[in-house]
Amino acid sequence: MVKLGIMSFAHLHAYSYAHCVNLIPEAELTAIWDDDKERGKEASKQYQTNFVEDLDKFLSLPIDGVIITSENVNHKPMAIKSAEAGKWILCEKPLATTIEDAMLMINTCKKAGVGLGVAFPCRFLTPILKAKEYIRSGKLGTILSISCTNNGSYPGGWFGDVKLSGGGAVMDHTVHVADLLRWMLDKEFDSVYCELGNQMHKGILETDDMGCLQLEMEGGIQVSHIASWNRPKSFPTWGDVTMEFIGTKGVLYLDAFNQKLNIYSDFAMKTEWGFWGDNPDLGLIQDFVNSIQEKRDPMSKGIDGLRSVEVTVFAYESYKAGKKVKIKKSKC
């Protein structure tokens, strides 16, 4: 039995991950730690597990791996503490808010001999796997251009507090697509130009809430990406992940979550989309469980987290500089 713990329910994804752990027969959600006692207790009730208030006590439990779903800036201290306690780690994205933090996390895990994974559940979305297959098959020819979106609604709370989030929509919604493209094409990002703003919430957010990136990948592939919190409260769903690939032999359009029912309910008084596709989080958590059993890194490794953090960090750099900048890749 693989024993898992969840550290913090600050990020909403924690609830889905907890649910998935309970679905996997060879895994057990042994304990929850949260610096918000109320929240942690509530979650422990919901998922029928123990709440441990003291962090050191939590890490001294016989758990094999931890899922870190705290505020972005807290990933680093939690990961380091967990690594030093010998725990396998699955960290919510973005891995860190700075390149230095990401490097430190990777190096600490390496030294401690524990696996480090980044929660990129999109890699486990069935339509994305199918798209990757098409692209790798060569049916589209050489990929020339790609236009992507990762739109969402403003998650609220700490996401708008730059001291905890490290940034806004660009911080939150660049890394998924950056990771997917690196993984699907097996190519790195070379440069980025970024424009951003915060008008989606009448300028009340100190962070950005809309970003438009123009990137170049190895081999001169031209990529645009919208990273935003532009979905209003009335929108039928949380957001999207879309990609249009232009190849010399064909094109592929991917709307990754477009497996949905249109629901018109008088109880909700807004149109809702009910998703019926495969649950990507289950694949993510299953892979984490397997990685512990097989003593390996999870599928999206620390370096994958780092590379996507670099894209984000240099996007902000580009906006500050008002020009396209090179994406420097750190060695690790």
Binding site: S145, Y193, Q199, H201, Q214, G322, K323, K324
Partner: protein, 324 residues
């Protein structure tokens, strides 16, 4: 009033139809391809003339409608201004900013009424988007995504495929969306463009343009001549209190015929409405001539549009943002 059509391709034919709908008579037409010229002449009971100069010089012709490849616009405009004609010119006004400026200067001096076909301003769906924005339904607009295009221009010898002439999808096609953004949100501050011109894969082109308006509004405009089929227009407008989305694939009519129709020429999007946007732009032009009512598009707007798309091409070349 009598109309002379220069360029008898898809757009020339469309403009001839619109001129007739406005109660004008198409008297002459010209095209280097004498077959399409003669076909059009036959359909409209007009006279096919080999040299376009003769159409422009003809005293019977009051209105010259220019629908030729973009690089030909300048000499045609130049002569039509000299001859004191009313002019309907297909967009883009000219291939370069300098040509546009010269033409405008001459038209101003000669007090010529020169209309440029930035027809998207007249599309019902775009008018509806404009109305919704003005009504405040979605709050203050912060971000817009626009998407336009489909197949590369068909026909092996199509001039569109020579990007030095057409400017590719950015210059020829996305000028519509960029003009519309400027029409609704004001002047453009910065553009950043990536396109396939330098990749030498013509007729394929795919262009992605970041547009930052002076008022802070941000837009991403995508244009494609890279799809194997279809023609798609999508607009998404994001505001502080809502979002609206238009997709031309959502239509009231769907027809499929068992006998596959041959596709040729440039695809002209059709809205199943009583009055087409092309007719609306012609009526606007004619009412300018007849009643002096300023049309929705000025020649200065047309110049600005060329300035912005030229900046896009420059950005794509130097791979850096370009300020307007």
């Amino acid at each position: 009033m009598n109309v002379g059509i220069l360029g008898c391709g898809t757009m020339g034919r469309l403009h001839a139809e619109m001129a007739e709908k406005c109660g004008l008579k198409v008297v002459q037409c010209s095209d280097v391809n004498s077959q399409s010229g003669k076909d059009l002449a036959k359909n409209f009971k007009a006279k096919f003339v080999k040299n376009w100069e003769d159409v422009v010089a003809n005293k019977e012709v009051d209105i010259v409608a220019i629908a030729t490849p973009t690089p030909l616009h300048f000499p045609m405009l130049d002569m039509a201004i000299k001859k004191g004609k009313y002019i309907f010119c297909e967009k883009p006004l000219c291939r370069t900013v300098e040509e546009c400026k010269k033409v405008i200067q001459k038209a101003e001096k000669a007090k010529i009424k020169l209309f440029v076909g930035h027809v998207v301003r007249y599309f019902h769906e775009f008018e509806a988007i404009h109305e919704q924005i003005k009504s405040g339904k979605i709050g203050e607009v912060g971000f817009i995504k626009m998407y336009r295009g489909g197949m590369p221009p068909q026909g092996k010898n199509s001039w569109f495929r020579d990007f030095s002439k057409s400017g590719g999808v950015t210059f020829d096609c996305m000028i519509h969306d960029i003009d519309w953004l400027r029409y609704i949100f004001g002047e453009v501050k910065t553009v950043y463009c990536q396109n396939l011109i330098e990749k030498n894969c013509a007729p394929l082109d795919y262009s992605q343009v970041t547009v930052r308006m002076k008022n802070g509004v941000l837009a991403l405009v995508i244009g494609t001549w890279a799809h194997p089929s279809g023609f798609r227009v999508k607009v998404e407008v994001c505001g502080s209190d809502g979002l609206m989305y238009y997709d031309n694939m959502e239509t009231p009519l769907e027809v499929q015929l068992r006998e596959q129709s041959k596709v040729s020429g440039t695809i002209v999007p059709e809205s199943p409405v009583i009055k087409s946007p092309y007719q609306k732009e012609w009526e606007d032009f004619i009412s300018w001539i007849k009643d002096g009512k300023e049309p929705r598009v000025s020649m200065y707007d047309a110049l600005k549009a060329v300035e912005i798309v030229s900046a896009c091409l420059r950005s794509a070349k130097i791979k850096q943002p370009v300020n307007l």
